[in-house]
């Protein structure tokens, strides 16, 4: 039984002033984990220049790096350029799709995307009323549908969902409840619960807490830097 060790972090919010600050903290990561997941908010303003800083911090790591973008990375309408810069640096950027890694005889599937908000069952927005409200909720629903399809097609030993927004309330504890609908959506958890996954990793909620569980029993971890207080955290999945 070999273990698969997953390193994960989110909300590194790089800018030119932080160039060279993050990379040294990843030194030796290949001895601690088989893969690094980065859960969005890689930049502060979502500019191409900041995207280049992120790419340089993550370039040529000895283990595969899989990332999604966050809301900050969309702020300057340069998300496609940032995605391309990261891919050039060897980072796998997921935009509501899956990737499969073969690690030491174990296969790991990661489905990821930025996710979106809407709130949590019983206290959430629905596709009703003005077009703006419908568009907001529809965006999340369509993302959840794409994740559901991607998970359904994944036939790997382990499956992980990588998101920026949260799928559950548990990991938002510490954030004002009034803003929960902007921090995540239960639709993201529902998709994972229907198709099954070993772990959901997210960020975005800087004031939240690390550990949670979906209603279906999937472990959820908020790995935003201010929450974990380190360059990454490692989660071990049992051998398949």
């Amino acid at each position: 039984m070999t273990e698969t060790r997953i390193a994960a972090v989110a909300d590194i919010h790089m800018g030119e002033d932080l160039r060279g600050h993050f990379r040294p903290k990843l030194h030796g990561i290949e001895n601690r984990a088989e893969v690094l997941l980065v859960g969005g908010d890689l930049t502060r303003h979502g500019t191409v220049a900041e995207g280049r800083v992120v790419a340089d911090e993550l370039r040529d790591l000895p283990i595969p790096v899989i990332a999604v973008l966050g809301n900050h990375d969309y702020h300057s309408d340069a998300e496609q350029a940032i995605t391309a810069i990261l891919r050039d640096a060897g980072v796998t950027v997921l935009d509501d799709e899956a990737t499969i890694l073969s690690l030491d005889g174990t296969t790991l599937g990661v489905v990821g995307g930025k996710g979106f908000g809407g709130g949590f069952a019983g206290k959430c927005a629905s596709e009703f009323g003005e077009p703006e409200t419908k568009a907001f909720v529809r965006h999340t629903r369509q993302i959840a549908d794409r994740w559901r399809r991607a998970l359904k097609e994944l036939d790997t030993d382990h499956r992980i969902v990588l998101s920026h927004y949260s799928p559950v309330k548990d990991t938002l504890m510490g954030e004002p409840t009034e803003i929960y609908p902007f921090l995540g959506s239960y639709l993201l958890a529902e998709a994972a619960d229907e198709e099954g996954a070993d772990l959901i990793v997210h960020g975005h909620a800087h004031l939240g807490t690390e550990k949670g569980l979906t209603p279906g029993g999937i472990q959820v971890r908020n790995v935003a830097v201010p929450v974990i207080g380190s360059a990454y955290t490692v989660y071990c999945l049992n051998g398949a």
């Binding site: 060790r5 004002p176 207080g229």
Partner: protein
């Protein structure tokens, strides 16, 4: 004087939209003529910058900067799921 509610909203919005901060993770509470800033950031300069932007958005009020620094430590023990 503006109602505390609107002052807090104005400061929160300035922190989010000012190019210098673009900060969404700070709690802003206004009591009387005092503003309380709470949250966690990664660099001391950033902590002060947030205070500056808050002060500019609410001139004349006294700002209590209770923002703490996130110390980015070495990764701790791994967790077995």
């Amino acid at each position: 004087m503006d109602a505390p509610h609107y002052v807090a909203a104005r400061v929160q919005r300035a922190l989010a939209e000012d190019e210098r901060t673009v900060e969404l993770g700070i709690r802003v509470d206004v009591r009387g003529n005092q503003i309380f800033l709470r949250g966690r950031v990664s660099a001391p300069e950033r902590r002060l910058l947030i205070e500056d932007v808050a002060r500019e958005a609410a001139p004349g009020l006294s700002v209590h900067n209770e923002i703490t620094l996130v110390e980015v430590r070495e990764p701790g023990e791994e967790e077995h799921l």
